[in-house]
């Protein structure tokens, strides 16, 4: 049985990480307010929400499987307090931190309508912290971390997020960014 749980833990972990990457990328795309052909703003928003929700679900599955796997020696306390684990405590601790951040970010998403913009934005920004922690946790704790395919997935993910990040920080990232900037300086659009 432990073998089964271990398998589930590994698989759901990898899937969750891929979903997180997708969610982050879509979050950045959505924030730009730009549409890309078939990927309308509405579609982007729906996809972002779906991928986020699925990422949470697969993370929950990942955690349950680890709790069930007696060989993994993960206990309930490890879900709340990081770095107490017996197996590679630092990397496992990152997993805990990631889980807690994920809960916070997910809650802001669910309670969107009831939160003020500064509160929503402030907490939701933790996504940018969550993602690298999740990647590090996977590399440090992942049983498959040494394989070529896992490393390939990780490198591609990091590359995509870096490109998206650079785009995010560029001057004309947001739709209408330059038109608005010129307008605020008093120039005809």
């Amino acid at each position: 049985m432990d073998e089964l749980f271990w398998s589930i833990a590994r698989t759901s972990g990898i899937i969750s990480l891929c979903l997180l990457t997708g969610s982050l990328l879509l979050g950045i795309i959505t924030r730009s307010g730009r549409s890309f052909g078939a990927l309308s703003r509405y579609t982007q928003s729906l996809l972002h929400r779906s991928l986020s929700l699925l990422a949470v679900l697969f993370t929950v599955l990942h955690v349950i499987a680890l709790l069930a796997d007696s060989y993994a020696r993960v206990h309930l306390i490890d879900l709340l307090i990081p770095f107490l684990g017996e197996y590679r405590p630092f990397w496992q601790g990152l997993g805990t931190v990631g889980l807690l951040l994920m809960v916070a970010v997910a809650l802001t998403g669910l309670l969107r309508q009831r939160l003020s913009q500064p509160v929503f934005r402030g907490i939701h920004l933790a996504s940018y912290l969550l993602w690298p922690i999740a990647v590090a946790h996977g590399l440090g704790n992942g049983s498959d971390a040494g394989t070529l395919w896992y490393r390939a997935i990780t490198i591609v993910s990091i590359a995509l997020v870096m490109v998206a990040g650079i785009w995010r920080l560029s001057a004309n990232y947001a739709n209408h960014a330059s038109t608005r900037r010129l307008a605020r300086e008093g120039v005809q659009p």
Binding site: V187, Q188, P189
Partner: protein
């Protein structure tokens, strides 16, 4: 039925002061000597009836019937069973307006009379005066003279929109002094969710006088449509004076009484920075705009007029004002934040004698684009000022578009 020519009575500056009757810097003693105490034998209902019969409209620019506002707060208080709050708004964000400062400095007791009387009748547990910090010492003195401890003072910022009703509420709740997205009336839920009566300090002073002298007395000034009197800040050649004038005063008469000759006047800005221009001096300074009557009525707004003489280019002056209005945006709402500076830039080009014939049309288009698309009326009123300038000064616009200007000076003193 034969019609007889009923002579129109043109009203101007008040023959006798009302609000300022106790003289400059009136302390408690002077105030009581002039006005006497508040009536002791009138019931609350009688006072409310007088206020309603008076037809008093707000003197903060909105011109909303004050008795109706009070009644709305009363109803909300009864319905929600929450004690209402009364706020006297003396923040006066309009840079051309000096009447509220003057009133608070020289006749604070009339304002406090109105505030305390209204608070008592409404059963309010909290009452406030919102005013710039410079006026607080005088107000604290006045409160001390009366032995009054139930009025709190709130220090307001000086920027243009700081005096807007929801901006005052926001500021009093510890937030920014910026307008809020309108969600219902303040009379239903205002400061901390309580039914709130927020009125201009001049309005409170009028309420105090009506309670003493009756609505019939109040209506001996002004007209049926615009009863009573108002304080008017008059700007001319870089100086200003505040006068008490009849409701629906005839602008030409007021100017004549102030010894500003009609021949020396090019145009008058009526209603301050959110007002409108007029070359025709035969207009009435009334509570609200009215296109149907002769003479036409222009809203006096917060009681401000600016005289522009012939040496000033009115487009340059308008451009200055529009630049100020664009800079004064609360910057919360996209259309205002982006539309007003764009409009200001186009208008400035026009004022600087650009020959681009598209400019007037662009200004009109931008005006239509920003109007009604914000959380307050700043973009609407600012656009209206710009369009008013284009309409009234169409000759100057034509001249500018051909590269010339009829006027010597490009700058307003």
């Amino acid at each position: 039925m034969t019609t007889t020519n009923i002579p129109t009575v043109y009203r101007g500056v008040l023959e006798e002061p009302r609000l300022l009757a106790a003289g400059p810097d009136a302390h408690w003693a002077e105030h009581l000597a002039c006005f006497g105490p508040l009536p002791q034998d009138s019931s609350d209902q009688q006072i409310l009836s007088e206020w309603e019969a008076s037809g008093l409209a707000g003197r903060g620019g909105g011109a909303f019937p004050t008795a109706r506002k009070i009644a709305a707060v009363q109803r909300a208080a009864a319905r929600t069973r929450r004690a209402p709050v009364v706020i006297g708004n003396g923040s006066e964000g309009e840079p051309l307006s000096f009447k509220d400062q003057l009133l608070l400095d020289h006749a604070p007791h009339l304002v406090l009379d109105g505030l305390l009387l209204t608070a008592r009748i409404l059963g309010a547990r909290e009452s406030y005066i919102a005013a710039k910090p410079g006026l607080h010492p005088r107000l604290l003195d006045a409160l001390a003279e009366r032995g009054e401890t139930s009025v709190a003072l709130h220090a307001t910022d000086s920027h243009f929109l700081a005096g807007q009703a929801t901006a005052v509420i926001s500021s009093m709740e510890g937030g920014p002094s910026l307008p809020r997205h309108p969600s219902g009336h303040l009379s239903d839920a205002g400061l901390a969710g309580a039914p709130t009566l927020l009125v201009n300090v001049e309005t409170l002073a009028h309420l105090a006088l009506i309670a003493r002298y009756s609505s019939a007395w109040f209506r001996t000034a002004g007209t049926a449509a615009d009863p009573g009197s108002r304080l008017l800040t008059v700007h001319d050649q870089g100086r200003y004076q505040v006068h008490e004038v009849h409701g629906s005063s005839d602008l030409s008469l007021v100017l004549e009484q102030l010894q500003i000759s009609a021949a020396s006047i090019q145009a008058v800005l009526v209603g301050g920075y959110h007002g409108q221009w007029t070359k025709d001096l035969g207009v009435a300074l009334s509570a609200a705009n009215d296109d149907r009557h002769h003479p036409a009525a222009l809203a006096a707004g917060a009681g401000v007029i600016e005289v522009v003489r012939h040496d000033i280019c009115p487009l340059a002056r308008s451009s200055q004002i529009i630049d100020y209005l664009a800079r004064s945006s609360a910057r919360q709402c996209g259309p205002c934040l982006h539309g007003l500076p764009t409009l200001a830039r186009d208008f400035q080009a026009l004022a600087q004698r650009s020959t681009d014939p598209e400019l007037p049309e662009q200004v009109h288009r931008l005006g239509a684009l920003v109007a009604g698309r914000g959380s307050c009326h700043h973009p609407d009123a600012s656009a209206r000022l710009a369009i008013s300038a284009l309409q009234v000064f169409d000759d100057e616009v034509s001249a500018h578009l051909s590269g010339t200007c009829h006027h010597n000076s490009q700058e307003h003193q």
